[in-house]
Amino acid sequence: MNRLFWYRTLVVVAAIAVLEVLCLTGVIDRITMQPPHRIAIDLAHILASGSMNGAIRKTLGNSAIALVSALVVGIAFGVLLHGYRGARDALDPLFATYYAVPVFAFYPFFIVVFGFGDVPQVLIGFMLGVVAVIVNTLNGLDRVPSVLLKTARILRLSPADTALRMTLPYAGPYVLTGIKLAVAYAFIGVIGSEFIMSRGGIGYEISFAYANFDNATMYPLIVLILLASVAVNGLLGVWEQRLLARRGLR
């Protein structure tokens, strides 16, 4: 474990050091990229001055709405669909090919339908995330042992109670895999669509800074997004491993 940690740190540090050297010696010129230490300083400035707080709040807010709606709809739909064999069979090809279809291709169309507000971005984040939640919920529910369902019937639990008290807790680790994906997809969807065309948010700020050759804003913001998504993903991954370990699954 420790050896792996040092290996990883070494890789990251080496990559940053190489970039630093390349930038300082002028192999990568200043217009293309700032040296890493400069990016860190600029990032600290941006965060301290609070000039991007509005954009950060907007992006986080929209991602949160997309995530929560994807979770609620995805889990509810997954539980419902689990009961209907026929509907599930009909939707199976959709789930299997869903992630092969570029959801972003629908973004222009959503802008036309819903206008230039936050709705198209939230919708893209939601659409990217919801199917991962549904598929993983179904996968978890498939693994619920029938003895639990029998117990639920003996206790005369209503379908809603059975789902909330029996099957969903059992399917927890699998649902969590879906949640992990949904978090990543919500970010990707919202930031990506802000980036393509929008009026605010971090994605927009990055593309605006890019259009103005404002490297002192662009690179720190990109680094901020990288750090945030790696951190969130890492935390959820640790939680997932713990849950699986507790069940003796890994």
């Binding site: 990883r8 990229m33 009909a90 090919t97 972003f104 990707i188 593309s207 990288l226 890492g234």
Partner: protein, 245 residues
């Protein structure tokens, strides 16, 4: 197989119905009806400029996919063989997967300039990751007895890949290639949407600018039908490979 075909047809009919209902609800300003979209798409394909755009997108995509496959297999096999590197780097690659990669696009544009190279590079960073991850997993999951046999026969590393690992791991590797296919397509289309003067992604953005609903819907339709068809075929092959083992 027959059930699968029926389910697919049910789904397509259902989606078309949903589309028609949405159209009746929103009207001409926001949506084009299925029939109008199909007609417009048919007309588009007869124009030469549209075919040129399709060719442009396909070319960028094909180059990107070829690079993704070669790089993905290479890195995947390397990480699969080298246990320490594999264990150390796999979680890092997984976390790269979760990054909104669109934000990296400005960096690629600055590095490669406007045009084909940036599009290809963007497709590659999307597509290469799943291929690496699936290949790595495939190597790790290969039965130890096969590897031992290889060592007993004193195969070189290359022979080991060619005669033992590749045939044994082909189903899982193919899954990686399938996922990589979809993501590479998404990557190269996104690159065109953001900064490009050619290709289907550019046509989409152009459609927004001109508020040409029929154009937007037709291009979206072409992309969706292409992606869905290829992925159904790949999925079919994938299932058959997995059943064989």
């Amino acid at each position: 197989m027959k059930a699968g075909l029926r389910n697919g047809l049910t789904l397509i009919v259902g989606l078309l119905l949903l589309w028609q209902l949405l159209y009746l609800w929103t009207g001409d300003v926001a949506l084009a009806s299925p029939l109008a979209t199909f007609r417009y798409t048919g007309k588009l394909f007869t124009t030469e400029s549209f075919d040129a755009q399709v060719y442009e997108t396909l070319r960028a995509f094909a180059i990107a996919y070829a690079i993704s496959v070669v790089m993905g297999l290479g890195i995947g096999f390397w990480l699969g063989f080298d246990r320490l590197s594999g264990d150390a780097l796999e979680p890092m690659i997984v976390s790269v997967y979760a990054i909104p990669k669109l934000t990296l696009y400005p960096i690629l544009l600055l590095a490669f300039g406007l045009g084909l190279a940036a599009k290809v590079a963007f497709g590659v960073i999307h597509g290469v990751i799943p291929i690496i991850l699936f290949t790595l997993a495939a190597v790790h999951n290969t039965k130890p007895i096969l590897m031992k046999t290889g060592r007993v026969l004193k195969l070189s590393r290359w022979q080991m890949i060619r005669w033992i690992l590749f045939p044994a791991a082909i189903p899982e590797i193919f899954t990686g290639l399938r996922v990589g296919f979809a993501l590479t397509l998404i990557g190269s289309l996104l690159a065109e949407m953001f900064a490009s003067q050619r290709g289907l992604g550019y046509l989409l953005m152009n459609g927004i600018g001109l508020h040409n609903v029929e154009l937007i819907m037709s291009v979206t339709l072409v992309i969706v039908v292409f992606a869905a068809t290829v992925s159904v075929v790949l999925l079919h092959v994938d299932h058959r490979l997995h059943r064989r083992v």
